[in-house]
Structures are given as structure tokens and as C-alpha cells.
Symmetry: C2
Subunit: 212 residues, 2 copies
């Protein structure tokens, strides 16, 4: 596997490749040409070849890509098999929806515990995951080496909690709160899920559609 700096755009396409190859694999398809892959995914064949060349390429002239091989190479590049420890902070509706339905393991993380301050949820289990008191966060992370924190608590606590997590050695934050974490506020890797911005952008498009 060739190691070099990969652009954010490529990093964002890799999960799409992975997901699609995983589907092909489940449907028993063993190989695919870059043209077929391109048609199905809505990219160009040359874009796909270029993306995969970032990692040393995996295709063979006249054969295309071996689905299972490419799928597991991309999985290795993304680090999906490493099963790093994760915790979730804020076991409200959204937190519980993620704990109950989201397949963290398919994305490379094992959910170790959830944390909340509300006495109604602390001490309960959601989909087998214990909800612990937020007071015990520091102790827990030190003992279990969580590398990812999923933030689903209210937005006004985001910055303070992030500082605490960073000091505890957490490396990544999956931020669902209404508060952004900017690069100058944290050294952790941050992925933000922008519900509001996504829906406002859609509102604009629907609005424009109405004028057209």
C-alpha cells in the first residue's frame, strides 16, 4: 500500500467505493471494470482510476477490479478493521437512535459506553451499551482508551467537553451538536454532521425550484 498525502475529496469518496463494493460482494459479483463502477456510482472511469491510483491502484488491464480484493484494500486504507474504542456523550433521542440503529462496527469502531447527566437514563442500557454518569467519563476513558467520542449532547457544552476529551487522549470527534469545533479550537480530528445546514440548503433549492 503506497503511503502518501490523500486529499479530503478522495477520503470522502473512499467510503462510497467501499459501500458499493460491499454490495457487489454481497450479491456474489467478483469483478467489475472501472467503466461499470463509474456508471453505477456516477463518477467518471478516469476519476475512479485516479482515486485508486492514490493507493497504488488495484486494477488489471482487461480484467478490471477484483471486487473482494478492492473492497478489503479500501477497508484497510480506511482502517475499518481496527475496531477502535468509542464512547457517546448525550443519550437523548438522537444518541439513543445512533446506539440502537447505527452500525459503528462497520465503520471501524466498537461502542464501549454512553454518558449522560440525566438520572432517568444513567444506569440503563441502550442496545447493550451502558449509559454511565458523565462524572465517570475521565476515569472510564483512562481505563478503556476510547479514541472516538460521538457528541449528541446539547450544543452549549460542545467546546468544554471537547477540551476535556482532548486532554484525555481522545483522537476523533463525531459532532452532531449545533456547535462547530473549529481547527483552532481543537487538535482532534472532527467530523461534523450538519443537520441544520443541510436542511437550509435544501430549503434554498426547493425555493429556487418553485421560481423556475
Amino acid at each position: 500500500m503506497t503511503k502518501r498525502k490523500v486529499s479530503d475529496a478522495v477520503i470522502r469518496r473512499l467510503p462510497k467505493y467501499y459501500r458499493y463494493l460491499d454490495e457487489l460482494h454481497e450479491n456474489g459479483i467478483t469483478r467489475i471494470s472501472s467503466h461499470q463502477l463509474a456508471d453505477e456510482m456516477g463518477f467518471t472511469a478516469s476519476q475512479i482510476r485516479q482515486d485508486l491510483n492514490c493507493f497504488g491502484g488495484f486494477g488489471q488491464q482487461g480484467y478490471g477490479y477484483g471486487v473482494e480484493k478492492l473492497r478489503s484494500e479500501i477497508s484497510a486504507i480506511l482502517g475499518l478493521q481496527d475496531m477502535r474504542g468509542a464512547i457517546l456523550i448525550g443519550a437523548g433521542n438522537l444518541g439513543r437512535a445512533l446506539l440502537g440503529n447505527f452500525d459503528f462496527e462497520s465503520c471501524g469502531f466498537r461502542m464501549l459506553a454512553a454518558f449522560d447527566v440525566a438520572s432517568e437514563v444513567v444506569g440503563k442500557k441502550v442496545n447493550g451499551v451502558d449509559v454511565l454518569a458523565l462524572d465517570s467519563l475521565d476515569e472510564f476513558i483512562k481505563a478503556h482508551s476510547a479514541e472516538l467520542a460521538v457528541l449528541t449532547m446539547p450544543g452549549d457544552e460542545t467546546r468544554e467537553i471537547a477540551k476535556r476529551l482532548e486532554a484525555l487522549g481522545v483522537k476523533g470527534v463525531w459532532n452532531f451538536t449545533s456547535r462547530e469545533l473549529r481547527a483552532d479550537e481543537t487538535n482532534m480530528c472532527v467530523e461534523t454532521v450538519h443537520f441544520t445546514e443541510s436542511l437550509m440548503a435544501l430549503c434554498y433549492k426547493v425555493n429556487e425550484e418553485g421560481k423556475a
Copy 2:
């Protein structure tokens, strides 16, 4: 308001401006320079001036931007005051989390009803919103003219439901399912919330961090 074709990147930044200006407004701040706005938002001042010029600009030399005026102009551009009708399909955990916590009205939509097939939820209310049988979808949309559909049902139904919604005149889809809706599959405006791709990208970054 100058009308012209606006790039997707600008459309994505507008909700960020709106959110930040809304905060300033709530804190009683009445004006801000493009430099201050830039510092706070992590953009450059010239980027901000350029973005806002797309819509005719609103700043005054030596004065900056009037917070309330700029906020309401952006709100009007995004169409946030129009309160278009919306429905949600799939009242599982994620659907209920959105119904219970997400402020659709601040994004320009009024949630009219939710739909599901499970007898445990049909007939109930979530945060004041009725959960109706999916069978009654066509009739409901015809009677209430919903323009937005929020999709939180299982992914294998995405394409079929989208076809049905498009035929009923729905204009926008906020897609939380695991299935994409590509431009060649629908004429509706689509915004996809990519949970899996977002977390896989974060997995990659955390992984790289570990190697560094």
C-alpha cells in the same frame, strides 16, 4: 435582491452565515465588519464579501454589515420564512429523534405528519405530530401539499418511495437512508445525510493520526 445562479459552495456557506448572524442578533450585537465575521467563521474577509456580493452585497464601507438586516436578507434568500409543508417517512428511533428535537421551522418547514407501517407507532403522536399509516400517504400529500419529505425508513425502500413522492409533486427529499438518490433517478432536490461516510472518513483520519 439580485437573482443569479449561485454555486453549491455558496449555498452551503449561507446557512453558516445565517446561524452565526442569528447568534450575534440574539446577543444584541447590531453590526459587524467582514473582518470580524471572517475571524469568527474561519473564512477570509474577501471570501465573505464575494459570497454576499452574489446576492447584491449588503455591507457599507466603513460601517460593515448590519447584523439584523443581513440576517433577514439571508433568511429571505434561503426561503426560511416560507414554512413549506413537510412530512417524514419512517417513525423509528431516528425519525422520532428528528420529530422530537429538530427545529424544522427554523429551517423553513412545517412538519405536517409522519408515516410508518408498524402498528406500534401508527396512530401515535410524536412531539405533537401524528404518525399515520403509510397507506394514507398519497391521499395526505394531495390534501396538504407537502413539498418536503424526510426519509428515515429502511434504505431498501428509498427508490420506490422517492418515485411515489415525485409523482405526488413533492419537490425536495432530505435523505437519511443508507441508499443514495442519484440525479438520474429523480428530479426532486435531494440532500443526503451521510452518517456512514462521515464516520468512515473520520476513521481514516484517526487512523492516519495514529501513524503520524
